[in-house]
Symmetry: C2
Subunit: 278 residues, 2 copies
């Protein structure tokens, strides 16, 4: 990768930055595809975020920003325009300028999750889905499932108000979708999603009762690992098909590339050139 | 070069950015030396500069900034602390944060020029020097010559007030240096410096009367080329030793690296790894 005076910059804003993965996926891809752009991490504390984001977008060659914790919610209020996914998720992790200089926010976590399901042959349309964890990523997945025509969407969060609030936001944007309260009992669901952080740390309890999983259910995970989390290992033992968290990550990047107006590619190619260490 | 969540950023601020050279020198060096840092161009118009500079320095992993046209003068007013070279030059092209979060500005154009002279065996101490062009880079070279103990310093600029103003600034910081008015006549000077842009474009007139050069004079150039400019070609024909503009560039970078607190190297190594296209 040779950065020169014509290189375009995508700022990757979050704090802390140490665990950032995007630079090691996007930059090797840009290099492999001859795209003169670079993803650059910037460690930004909450009190400095609004000023930094706005200033960065005054720079001529800043093409966009990837926004992660702890700014994914606060960034929404800085946007001039947001997508339906942002409205439902209440969070945003991609920002670009439009032709008029307005800041446009979008969020493709859910899109990545659903693209991964489709690629694995799972048909979302008409399915009964349970989403456990109704924070930013769970909300984004719920929005994308609704967008893709899910039959019934059950929501659960240990914070009951999170699930209720998500249900309300979904009803505003996707009034035709049947949204119901869920629990940690996955029985009867053909799609079960862990959108909680449980599984990130050794010794975490399982997010749901795996003994109640239907053996033909599909179980997906947001914990960003390429190997099986304890939940996915248990699900697979029951015979379930599974999707690892890293799949969501790679599947969403083509959508981000498109959003930034950069040449796209497949999740497979991204995975083959990425230089991630798990 | 693999950018990851621990990479430190040096923002290269200017406008337009197309002719930037620093990324193609610093970044190959960082890669060759295993330094996890990256120089990133940011095209910034004057009206946005102050806000962008200040915001960038709120980012945890922004280690510094390289500042170039059109911000080299305006940046001085944004600094909490500046070096003597900045005071004399009235311009600044390197910024870092000190331990208290204050912005510190420095300027190593002149230092690079003088380091290059020393490496070529020219002894500045006691020399009679003529500096033609008293803008930012000429002022910086004049300051470094004064710092290095030049015997007499003659200044010339087509804008007479520029030369007078530089003479005054020099007298404040280097009261012992003899500063006198110069002209385009280089006769009697052992060091002659073109610090004007003449030589950048084909057809430019020569900045001085080459027929009056002492054959044992040393002639240095700031026009950033690695080959001989028409001035240097003529000087060499008269028997003069010369220094090309690109030498100043490579010689100053070790000083910048030190300023940013990064591991240093030699101008030769920088030149050997650089990926510049002239």
């Amino acid at each position: 990768m040779l950065i020169d005076g014509r290189t375009e910059v995508i700022a990757h804003l979050g704090w802390p930055t140490h665990a950032f993965k995007a630079p090691m996926i996007y930059n090797p891809y840009f290099e492999s595809a001859g795209i003169n752009a670079v993803v650059v991490p910037m460690g930004c504390k909450p009190e400095n975020f609004a000023a930094l984001l706005k200033s960065l977008f005054t720079a001529e060659n800043v093409r966009g920003a990837l926004v992660t914790m702890p700014h994914k919610v606060s960034v929404v209020g800085l946007m001039d325009k947001v997508s339906p996914a942002v409205k439902v998720a209440g969070s945003c992790n991609a920002v670009r300028r439009d032709g008029d200089g307005r800041l446009v926010g979008d969020m493709f976590d859910g899109e990545g999750f659903v693209r991964g399901l489709s690629r694995k042959g799972f048909r979302v349309q008409g399915a009964r889905a349970l989403v456990i964890g109704c924070g930013g990523v769970g909300s984004a997945i719920a929005a994308s499932l609704a967008q893709a025509g899910v039959g019934e969407l059950a929501l659960h969060d240990t914070q009951e108000r999170s699930a209720e609030s998500l249900a309300q936001r979904l009803k505003m944007t996707y009034p035709a979708t049947s949204v119901v309260p869920g629990s940690t009992d996955p029985a009867g669901f053909s799609l079960v999603v862990n959108a909680t952080p449980l599984g990130m740390n050794p010794g975490d309890p399982l997010p749901l009762d795996v003994n109640r999983l239907d053996p033909d259910a599909f179980v997906g995970e947001v914990v960003m690992k390429s190997e099986l989390t304890p939940l996915l290992a248990a699900a697979r033992q029951r015979g379930c098909a599974v999707q690892v968290g890293a799949d969501m990550l790679f599947e969403m990047i083509p959508a981000y590339l498109e959003f930034f107006g950069l040449p796209g590619t497949t999740a497979e190619h991204l995975r083959s050139v990425a230089r991630l260490q798990y």
